[in-house]
């Protein structure tokens, strides 16, 4: 019973790594990378939920009767591209922060904010 | 123009070979795609004698057959050295002359050097190429200049 849940555990481990990076790293870029790992773990979660044992990729072919669930694939496919686009926005924000403050370290940013 | 046509031909082969669906709709889409890709590349100015090396003679096939033999031999040699361990290698660097006239020839030569395991071309400066090799024999073999001569023969 238990070993059949390993996919979720992989996801959780990855997600927690991402979470940890987001909390601990002071550097905004590194935080974004943590966020990306977090995001990736969600993708993996969806895809693994969509997997059907013995199933094949959901493209019609002769001699294949069991297909994996196409719905999660659709969701994740779009989510990845959207993820890149939003990541670009986040990076742009970081770049502007660097421009305005001269640093991307969270602690230094807070110090400056307090001084003002 | 010549180059555009040859590129279009290559792309067409690529499409037909990849597609596997030969309905009129997809074929016309394919034709459109080829035209569009050629147009964009033309705008980017990447179509010229360098990207479409039409002028290279047919000997290039023979050259690559020869090169494949070479690659197999040197592969065996390198694999042997991998399993024998660090003792068996004696890395060295040498600067070799290039007798090719055109950039294209130099590129083919440098790539052939890199493709052959045991030697890597590190830098091209003017008419010399800097080569890093796993053993001194590899360098000695290149110095014989057989590969150099063969590549130079390609550009007529």
């Amino acid at each position: 019973m238990l070993p059949e849940l390993y996919n979720y555990w992989v996801v959780i481990v990855l997600m927690m790594i991402g979470f940890y990076i987001v909390i601990v790293q002071g550097n905004l870029i590194k935080k974004l990378i943590g966020l990306n790992i977090f995001q990736t773990s969600v993708f993996i979660f969806y895809i693994s939920v969509g997997k059907v044992a013995g199933g094949s990729a959901p493209i019609l072919a002769e001699g294949v009767s069991v297909y994996s669930n196409p719905l999660p694939h659709v969701l994740i496919l779009t989510a990845i591209v959207v993820g890149i686009a939003t990541m670009a926005v986040a990076l742009a924000l970081v770049v502007r922060i660097k421009n305005a403050y001269g640093t991307v370290e969270e602690e230094e940013l807070q110090e400056r904010d307090l001084r003002c | 123009m010549k180059h555009c046509l040859s590129l279009a031909f290559v792309l067409m082969v690529l499409w037909l070979g990849n597609s596997g669906y030969y309905s009129p709709l997809l074929l016309s889409l394919g034709a459109l795609s080829v035209v569009f890709a050629v147009w964009v590349s033309h705008r980017m100015d990447v179509i010229d004698h360098e990207s479409q090396p039409l002028h290279l003679s047919g000997h290039i096939l023979f050259f690559y057959c020869w090169l494949v033999g070479k690659i197999i031999l040197s592969n065996i040699d390198v694999v042997k050295r991998i399993w024998l361990g660090n003792k068996s290698i004696s890395p060295c660097v040498a600067r070799l002359p290039l007798s090719q006239e055109t950039d294209m020839g130099k590129v083919i030569y440098a790539n052939s050097i890199t493709l052959t395991p045991g030697t890597v071309s590190m830098d091209i400066e003017g008419t010399t190429v800097l080569v890093h090799a796993l053993t001194a024999e590899n360098i000695a073999e290149l110095k014989d200049g057989e590969m150099n001569r063969r590549v130079a023969d390609l550009e007529l």
Binding site: P72, V89, L91, R96 | -
Partner: protein, 300 residues
Amino acid sequence: MLAGIYGLLSASFFVSMDAVDVAFTEAAVGAGVFPLLMLTALTVTGRFEQTAHRRPRAAFFLVLVTGALMILGTLDMPAFGSPDAPAHTHVAARYIQLSPTEIGIPNMVTSVLADYRAFDTLGEVVVVFTAVVGVLILLTSVDQRQRPSPANAVETMRGHMILRVVSKMLIPLILLFALYVQFHGEYGPGGGFQAGVIFAAAIILYAMLFGLAKAEAAIKPSILRLLAAFGVLLYGGVGVVSFLTGVNYLDYSRLAADPVTGRHIGILGIELGVGITVAAAMILIFYAFAGYAAGRAEAE
């Protein structure tokens, strides 16, 4: 510095994880463009010194507890790959059974993406478009005063003879391959999203090798901006046309006499819209970052 490589690795890792899916293509694509974006951004922010971690002990504890709770939660989840998990028993079954006859194309992912769930996809495309607008607002407004004539913006690869020659050969092939992926999305893995990103990757390669200025001269940002909007409009337009034929928005069954052909046309149309928007969006984002980086280097 290491982090950039890590991004690349984690993306590759994801690729190797779920070897069975179409999402795969998408991951491969993400593996290419994401690190590039990351690196261009890093060029601007510079390499960084590590500051001391803030209370890593507490954070680690928090993470551990959350993880443990989540694992506890998974005990009730259906087993990996079990065919009667709730996820497979509702609409998905219907999609798999009916899509071959209703839509008439082999790739179910595309039929779900572009037909059954066309609304969702429209939303996603709009999000991508909005993101581009956001990036452009953030990064190009400064450019007006800072931006130099970008003539010598990116010159570092000039001396790379081998790279130059080989890339010249490859770029047209990549372009055609992107278009191939675009139009074969109904038969195999692929479609507008992937094609857009691959197309953009080709242009980005060109921009990296021959300089931003040449790339911007060949593929004008102003045209790209129009194209990004045009893609969304094309998508919406297909919807409006189907609206006018007397059925629901984005229901293509009456675009042709035969519903299956109609759907086929509709899917082609919106996939094209998706492809155009995504390609234009990715190129624009790259231009924005690279241009900004070049501007800063010049200013210093």
